[in-house]
Amino acid sequence: MKIKSAKKHCPAGAKSGAKLKSHMRRWEALALKKSLVRLPERRARFVGDSGMEIKRLYTPLDLRENDYLRDLGFPGEPPFTRGAQPTMYRSRFWTMRQYAGFGTAQETNQRYRYLLKHGQTGLSVAFDLPTQIGYDCDHPLAEGEVGKVGVAISTLQDAEDLFRGIPLDKVSTSMTINSTAAILLAMYIAVAEKQGVRTESLEGTIQNDILKEYAARGTYIYPPRESMRVITDIFAFCRKRLPKFNPISISGYHIREAGSSAVQEAAFTIANGIAYVEAALESGMDVDSFASRLSFFFNAHNNFLEETAKFRAARRLWASIMRDRFKTRDPKSAVMRFHVQTAGSTLTAQQPDNNIVRVAFQAMSAVMGGAQSLHTNSRDEALALPTEDSVRIALRTQQLLAHESGIADTIDPLGGSYAVEALTGEIEAGAREYLKKIALMGGAVKAIEAGFMQSEIADSAYRHQREVESGNRVVVGVNRFQSPEPPGRQVLRVSPSVERRQRRKLAVFRRKRNLRRAQAALEGVKNAAGGTDNVVPPILEAVKSGATLGEISDALREIFGEHREI
């Protein structure tokens, strides 16, 4: 039976398969055995980040089950293992998109202009935590947090300052915003309209992925059901009004940062993706009307081969789920397009210049894996937000990969590597196991409510930490090859005056607006939230009427309630 399938799938045929096997046995018995006596291996067992055994050598024997057309195919065609588009980087490089934002809208606007001047090709907005959790900068809970991890945006005026002088019909903008995604999207639309840009032509992405916020990142506001409803409202709104915009970026990045393995990252992301598709279907949408605009976001971690395999495996797995489970008719509905960011958690505060090298090979795995856009971390991010100098090196790293390394000149250059194909298969199989478990729990929402993803992630994180502390996992500069740290490294600091200035600006904004108009618009938001109307149009109206981010969030809190972590 096995021989028969080998005959069918093994490109070399059964006869040469048997021949190869006997050659391999001979090699193991003679050359290898002799060598192992003289030079024992570094470890008894080699394992990848996901706990998979990494073999000494991969050969065509590991790909016996592979069927080229079924499992790999051609780029731009199902199952998309080899790439999302037919020409990949031969036509256009990935979008170089550095996540940035700090302090006031004006300061961040300066950083965007700096990045665009140095050849960045898309914007990526980092918001501060009050903005992400729906508090204006003058809220008591915002104290100490304003402008710290991102830019502070409370009003439409802040959003205008953020994009001042940046033509929104020429750049695509990604916004890392989840619970308050509808509000920031509304502000973006309002700014575009003021610039005279047609809404239909806007390109970009809002993260809008609440499930991973409950599981790993923490910026939730409303309970899961209500949050899912807002998300599907955004899907429906974007399909009509912003057809070129990605209304969601289903994110494994933060799951990995919280400590998961590569397999868990792929599995949980796809489980969340399935939950969003199901929610959209339940809201009455046709799968082919929205699926092609779903986008994804992954982490590029240290293990180069495993990471490259992960990207390929995720693309193949998603394609099969969309085709088999959701019966998509349009092939585009089954394509997984994704953004990648290098792994922040791998950056070390010790010998921070080493991070430049880490980031380079992590980014290389993203390119090998066929990413559509990429953020490369800066060397100083284990210490603070990056300085301009550090950000420039990070961007240059991408430009080096694109223009000098040659890896962008052929599609999926590691495709067909015995090791990478075997790992791709193993990661897909491991992720499928998790998906089965999650399905038995009733899907991703239930699995998160039960704390399943969270505890799986925490277990992996703790295992990782113990490996580092036992020395089984080497972190250069931390538990091996340490050297004295020079004091007084230059890091970026957000001035404490930012909070004061933001509050003053907000107070002036509130004084100048037409309060009655804003209040009426907020009533409209509440009515939609309490009923079945799409909440996005009244939120857009509220933003234009001078309602603040905190006020709109509060209006929704009143109707939806707030989520409490168990």
Binding site: L129, P130, Q132, I133, Y135, L141, A142, E143, G144, E145, K148, V149, E213, A216, R217, G218, T219, E257, A258, G259, S345, T348, A349, Q350, A382, L383, A384, L385, A458, A461, Y462, Q465, V468, E469, V478, P487, R489, V491, R493, V494, E565
Partner: protein, 143 residues
Amino acid sequence: MNKNFCRKNFFRRKAKKIRVLIAKPGLDGHDRGAKVVVRALRDAGMEVIYTGIRQTPEAIAGAAVQEGVDFVGLSCLSGAHNHLFARVVRLLRKKGAANIAVFAGGIIPAADIPGLKKAGIKEIFPPGASTRDITQWVLRTAQ
């Protein structure tokens, strides 16, 4: 009798587990480090309570007093540490719980450490600190 009672009490106190509250003040949701520290301290035989993310300094100080902990460990990666950590210490003092030792970790620039120590944070564990260092520090300080 009385002497005996005292001795028993003495032994009981000696055998009493160290109690630690690990807390996430502010809006930051990065709790990988906090959770790892919780487990490591538990593995070292301590009783550890974790507050979960997004707690106010008031709630943290209240919980510390109510639970009668010996230590409060604060974690913050959002850059709001100067404001939040100092506030927790102030509130503990106000509640007459200045004996609770506060330590902290997260993305804390070296330049901020002297100020935080002056504000009453006993020890800061920056990125790359090992759980062994943290555990040993707690055990040493508890003596």
